[in-house]
Symmetry: C2
Subunit: 285 residues, 2 copies
Amino acid sequence: MIAPPRAELLSLNTATVREQWNLRQMIEGCARHGIRGISPWRDKLGELGAAEAARLIRQHELAVTGLCRGGMFPAADAAGRRAAIDDNWRAIDDAATIGARCLVLVVGGIPAGSKDLAGARQMVIDGIAAVLDHARASRVPLAIEPLHPMYCADRACVNTLDQALDICDALDPAPPGASPSGAIGVAVDAYHVWWDPNLPRALERARPERLLAYHICDWLVPTTDLLLDRGMMGDGVIDLPALRARLEGSGYRGFHEVEILSTRWWQRDPDEVLRIVRERHLRCS
Amino acid sequence: MIAPPRAELLSLNTATVREQWNLRQMIEGCARHGIRGISPWRDKLGELGAAEAARLIRQHELAVTGLCRGGMFPAADAAGRRAAIDDNWRAIDDAATIGARCLVLVVGGIPAGSKDLAGARQMVIDGIAAVLDHARASRVPLAIEPLHPMYCADRACVNTLDQALDICDALDPAPPGASPSGAIGVAVDAYHVWWDPNLPRALERARPERLLAYHICDWLVPTTDLLLDRGMMGDGVIDLPALRARLEGSGYRGFHEVEILSTRWWQRDPDEVLRIVRERHLRCS
């Protein structure tokens, strides 16, 4: 048996209640429910303002386990790629303002009209390379999030943990005999990686400095929508305790961030959602 | 520029017109449209009868590029696994009757109520091992089809070409310095593998004896259904000519089997569908 997780490592990715609450309500909701971590999305952060968000988060003593999201680097022309880099620059600044432990990168898919997957993947590497120095100077680690292969075309063409780690190693190689710098790493989301037959080896390969975030939800059977039918922990087929044990075995000691994009859960009372999140975190993850 | 494919290598996977035609109509439709290969599904084969299907296929001089499908090995109990093996035994017999070049294996997902993905994968290996001798004796090669990771839970827990090749190598190792026997290999479906960052290396690794079938369609953006929204070649983002060139580079010389599971195309006149399939095969694959 795998021991239950520590309750104080629960974090709320605010997408989980994005249709019900604004960021102020989310922060206060986390505090009210004893959830010690939060990971906001930029649209909500923009509404409230990063400075006011930072003040509220400090007031409630929450850890900011990430900012969602930077990325979306590929574009059909150089102007589009430049705009993406500028936007990531601003995201890094916002992440620094709120004290986020990382900026999550959803790297982007294939530009409209293109079939050049290898080219898109190169644009991702070039884009990250173009913002890495600013991230390092701002002390905001960049967390590449490999997304499930069903999002390869339109959201993220980085689709396995190994592929994300390859990019980390290329852009920020560890000196011989030393640890990686921590300036760039990965966000491991159970929903995106659970199926990967190479996942155990990839996690063994990942040094602790590369493991910047861990996201959880569940894969439902059947899944009725490619984006908005993610499940509450325990309602699907992912062996979340076993996956957490693997991450801990690779040295991960951070938060467990619950991110559930679901039209079903968005219809529920958000306080009820947070109660269930807390309970399922302990019992099913 | 990659040269267009040879028209005579086009094959019709009958799922493409499954809602419009029975197998007799499919066979006659292929003959009428100058399509030289066909790959039936077992439900349609059962309706017509394997012996009558074999007679009609011989009469029209079609190549049978595969029989869809065996597999579905994992089950919650031993009786279920035994029933799956018996069913695969019968599928091998049917494939032999109609002279199929392979039996396509959609290996199955995780048994209902289980979260044991590794266990399901072992059941797949055990199931294939249990029928391999019968397949070999029947001269019906088994083609493991890695399915897109979005089907991992409920259809196939073999999700990458590398994983499928690992199973082939485990169950049918090539003698030192010699070629694999050809008794077991893979069906490469563009829809299922196009996203894989490791695909080029996996195809380089695949010996020609392992490459038993090649299926084509396209990945649409957006994709609105996990199963029934596959696209006609040219309507999506897959660089099909480049993928074909890679397969040919690995020694594949077989048919290009068009398999489009699509509620949209199932509403069209099947003769029109076959005309478009022929045209898109030449122009977009």
